[in-house]
Amino acid sequence: MPHDHDDHDHDHDPLEQGPSLRVRALEELMVAKGLIDPAALDRIVEYYERETGPRNGAKVVARAWLEPDFRDWLLRDGTAAIHAMGFTGYQGEHMRVVANTPKLHNVVVCTLCSCYPWPVLGLPPAWYKGAAYRSRVVREPRAVLKEFGLDIGTDIEIKVWDSTAEIRYMVLPLRPADTEAFTLEQLAGLVTRDGMIGTARL
């Protein structure tokens, strides 16, 4: 990837190469063409790293555990219930929440790319975007979940949700035992990202 322009104010690390250099070259070209404002890049990253993420989803889950009416609403109209909590935005326009039960385990995937509910879970982890998870979880969910340390017997049904259109999925995990006295904040602290993808129990 030759990159020999000298009309900019970054010093290129001579060891910088491959994708890193490619991205920097494109960024600088786009700035030079007036197509982007470089400060906007930082702002976008800041937005996703600060304002989205699994802590949002955890609040939704904890509230559903505490408030039966909210739980009903969430499962009936995930979009409205989640938006009402302020978790809106790209890749979260249309939400469906699927509830685990003692006899049913849900797990979410996007076999075609990496669709994922950004407002409530943030950006997806690397494994979610990788070939192994995407190829296998629709065919052998139990074998895949076992790699996550989750042993789902054949007496428990698995429902796999492949995010092939504009609806994004989130799993409502089972509430852990002995949490009757927990506050919303305490409950939310128990909820993990993988629990809401379906690759972990809580």
């Binding site: 322009h5 197509l35 400060a39 990253v45 809106t88 192994a132 790699e147 796999v160 492949d162 259109a165």
Partner: protein, 221 residues
Amino acid sequence: MDGIHDLGGMHGFGPVPIETGDYVFKAQWQRRAFALAELLGGPVPYSADQHRQEIERMPAADYLKLDYFEKWIVGAEALLLQAGLVSEEELRTGRKLFDVDVARHPKVDAENLVAIMRSGAQLNFPDDARRPRFTVGQTVRVTKDSPSGHTRAPRYLRGRTGQVVAGHGVFQFADAVAAGRGPEPQHCYTVAFTARELWGRDAEAADMIHADLWESYLEPA
């Protein structure tokens, strides 16, 4: 497009790299790549479906080899080329060779973009005028159509029979958006398939696999 991106059901990718893959960004350049691909959707402009389609058009060997965020950059570069906003030589050298009409390709202000990102895109349409062809509970078959462009009917469901378990109303149609034909809104449904229907006697257990499918992917069974 029945490309390598359509991974559902394929063998050959080993165990899930959970330990080493449990991150969103591993390097600073990945953050920049993500933000750059998001940001360029404004001035170029392009949609998520067009961006996905360009990633799907990569040679299969590259798709498997390149970092996820490098693929996002490959997709953005292809769309910039198609829009005539860059040349191959510019991409190769990183040096600007011509100016673009920024009035026709206005850059997006950071706060405006974040505001849009926070409110979300408009993906669905009022459905009063369109009656759904299928109803919840109905048995449907995914067509065997195998378009060479972007499609969201994965190959592992092609020709298979399932049951409509939800109707979601009318959405823009990804195949049409990616092809540059506009939204061509259609009803979209969740369809449930048994593992046995998909994998035959090699199904792992009596599970259900669900996918959201646009109406034109489906026919009565």
